[in-house]
Symmetry: C2
Subunit: 450 residues, 2 copies
């Protein structure tokens, strides 16, 4: 098997057993990138030379049995909003086209400490907001890969790297992962440090993880989670060994909040989620219809107010002097959002607190909610990166979510389900996701890459 | 000695030793109230009958050696913004003139659990903001007692009750305590629950404690501190036994941020603080001039933006239908503050975070800062409750502060010093305050009460 096809966990195991060297893995990935990148545009910056130098050093270390950590010699893609020391970080914007960060984002330095190799920076929408990246969907290049973590999703789904960092403020990890047929994990707000990540919205920003298996997401989460004094929103909750508990045989109790999600789903998505439900039930899961809390109806409006006002406030000063360097969607958004009254912002925060409390109590009877990951498969065209409506509520309340591939449309586009778990209980969420993965994930690969 | 003259600690000790009954104490306080209240207007509601019934029961229990807690049988005054179950809570407003709360504020129920008797509700400015209470300064009735905890300060300073609850968003505990010649303690933001307290500003509101000695403040803090699941801003920091450590002989290192405070103080206040410094130095304290952090210059503006927009947002809905029931200052403030853009609010919050970090680092070389508690003694007239400029910065960053009486003006009005301590280290703050109290507090009593 070509090493680029290995999952993160498989590659790590082979490197630890000296059956694969970091350099062999990297060379296979670079070859894959060279063949696909001209069609897909997943990368802003490929750090080829540094990656090769590092892979050579790490190969020698591995040969001697000196392993830096669980990710020793594994190349990882980093969304281009994460600071990478001495490696250009553009945020997908002309404004930062020459910006070389003086330090690593906390999660990037944790990756390095675990032995990972920073392969390069992946495409993002402008400042992780609405102006799309040039990346194309590997399953059909006429379609968006989703956003804002567009490059990370396309790269992981095609084997350009086994895993990548993304981020999510609305639906920026779950949506592109689902559109590209891979695993996307958005852990609990406060689980992963955002220090050194260009902010969209302080209140809503999450680091996201993109992989091809649930086990890989668990490995990455174990490696990156934890309190960071440089991000005051992180918590000191214990970090369990997620991978060792993945095969827990407990029957998952799954709540289905049909009303909102079925009303807003295309027929193909509805058929897909119903098939998924049936398979899960046949496989022993307990599925029951769940009611969403009352405050859910205000969630999308309040989410948008918080996100846009925080983003606009962050950009206000730069916007005054460099308006023309912003792309059209953000250029229109900033001045509009600056007109939001503080009382609207504060009421939105109040709705957020209420929704957190109500969801905590609604979800108490279940291990997780199950919903479609997106209302439709990846839309045609690159003007929009699709609709985050199914993901934004969980970014709003900060509960952890994961998407698992659940089939293909007639036209061969991936669909995914989304699970929503309890705060700081990624363990149960990953267990249920692992069970879903076994019965739902189709054995197929992206095909519009030539 | 008349029992009303006893401090909280003295009264508690005598009750524990069966040398005083709760009923004797209450009767002495009620007699004092009956003689002074017509001149001072410290109370909105006096819960005379319930207090007598409770004091009788508690007297019998004490007689049998059955003590509910450290405050068994001690009557306490409660600012009229704290919910008291079945006891009217007006917030100083016409809008709530008939409001009977269905539950106790967390700190009120903690008082009850410790054996305290809720004596009544003390006067507050309207919704703890700018429209003054009818309360007069017991040292000179032509002068304001300060606000917003006007009634609590006047009641404690005249022996109507040994201690009272107040609150502080700008300077609402420290200022009236200093104007009335007593101890005011504003613990760290997050130390005391605000659940069941009518909010001014969620970000800035603190519960405050008013007593006549530092030891009493320590006793009250011990009784009330702690995490409350109903107030998500409270912390689970350990609560040391503050009283037993009060006489710690360590030399306090005190920083004096002269520049801002001297520039804004009257001559009498400057003379008083310089005398206080000299006495403390003679008494072994190390005093050195301290520099305030750069962000201090933006603190008052940012504090006002956060306070007024949060307050206006809280009142917005009621204001739409009952505008005419608000008093003039709040009636003018609400519509103005509703025009504040969210970006101004968010920037003010950013300044707050910066000021917290910078103050944390500036204060590292000292046990505390020492400043005058107020720019002047209590101003003449009841139209304004005075200037919170010396207190608001510490409400803004949430660091604990305490005021200790430090002398009288030529005209017989009290002056106080203010100490600013480290977050969640009320212990050292109380130790230093106790030392200050020994060398600074004049032996005199309010005299304009007849």
């Amino acid at each position: 098997m070509d090493p680029y096809k290995l999952t993160l966990t498989q590659a790590s195991r082979l490197i630890h057993r000296k059956e694969l060297t970091p350099l062999e893995l990297l060379e296979s990935l670079l070859k894959r990138i060279d063949s696909l990148e001209p069609q897909l545009h997943a990368w802003v910056t490929l750090d080829r030379d540094n990656a090769i130098t590092t892979a050579k050093t790490y190969s020698k270390e591995a040969e001697k049995g000196e392993l830096r950590g669980p990710l020793h010699g594994i190349p990882i893609g980093i969304k281009d909003i994460f600071y990478t020391k001495n490696l250009k970080t553009t945020g997908g914007s002309k404004l930062l086209s020459d910006f070389i960060p003086p330090y690593d984002a906390t999660v990037v330095s944790k990756l390095r400490a675990a032995g990972a190799i920073i392969l390069g920076k992946t495409q993002t929408t402008e400042f992780a907001l609405f102006d799309p990246a040039p990346t194309r969907n590997p399953w059909n290049r006429k379609h968006t890969p989703g956003g804002s973590s567009s490059g990370s999703a396309a790269a992981v789904s095609t084997g350009m790297c086994p895993a990548a960092l993304g981020s999510q403020t609305g639906g920026s990890t779950i949506r592109p992962a689902a559109y590209c047929g891979i695993i996307g994990l958005k852990p609990t707000y406060g689980r992963l440090s955002r220090h050194g990540v260009i902010p969209v919205s302080f209140t809503l920003d999450h680091v996201g993880l993109l992989t091809r298996t649930v086990e890989d997401a668990a490995l990455l989460l174990e490696t990156l989670a934890g309190q960071d004094p440089l991000d005051p929103t992180t918590y000191s909750q214990p970090i369990p060994p997620y991978r060792t508990e993945l095969n827990n045989p407990t029957t998952p109790r799954i709540g289905i909040p049909r009303e909102f999600f079925w009303n807003h789903s295309s027929n193909e998505v509805k058929e897909n989620i119903e098939t998924a439900q049936k398979r899960l039930a046949d496989n022993g899961a307990e599925l029951t219809e769940a009611k969403l809390p009352r405050s859910f109806q205000a969630v999308h409006a309040a989410h948008r107010i918080i996100m846009t006002t925080e983003a606009a406030t962050y950009h206000e000063e730069t916007f005054q002097t460099r308006k023309e360097d912003y792309r059209p969607k953000l250029r229109a958004l900033i001045p509009a959002a600056l007109l939001t009254p503080a009382s609207a912002y504060l009421k939105s925060q109040r709705i957020r607190n209420l929704f957190i409390r109500e969801t905590d109590s609604s979800l108490r009877n279940y291990d997780c909610y199950l919903t479609p990951a997106t209302p439709t498969p990846a839309p045609e065209g690159l003007e929009s990166t699709g609709d985050p409506a199914f993901n934004a509520p969980w970014s709003f309340c900060g509960f952890p979510t994961i998407t698992i591939p659940s089939g293909l449309t007639k036209n061969g586009l991936p669909l995914g389900i989304q699970l929503v778990g309890h705060p700081f209980d990624e363990q149960h969420l990953l267990q249920t996701a692992h069970r879903c993965e076994k019965v739902l994930t189709p054995k197929s690969e992206p095909h519009d890459t030539d």
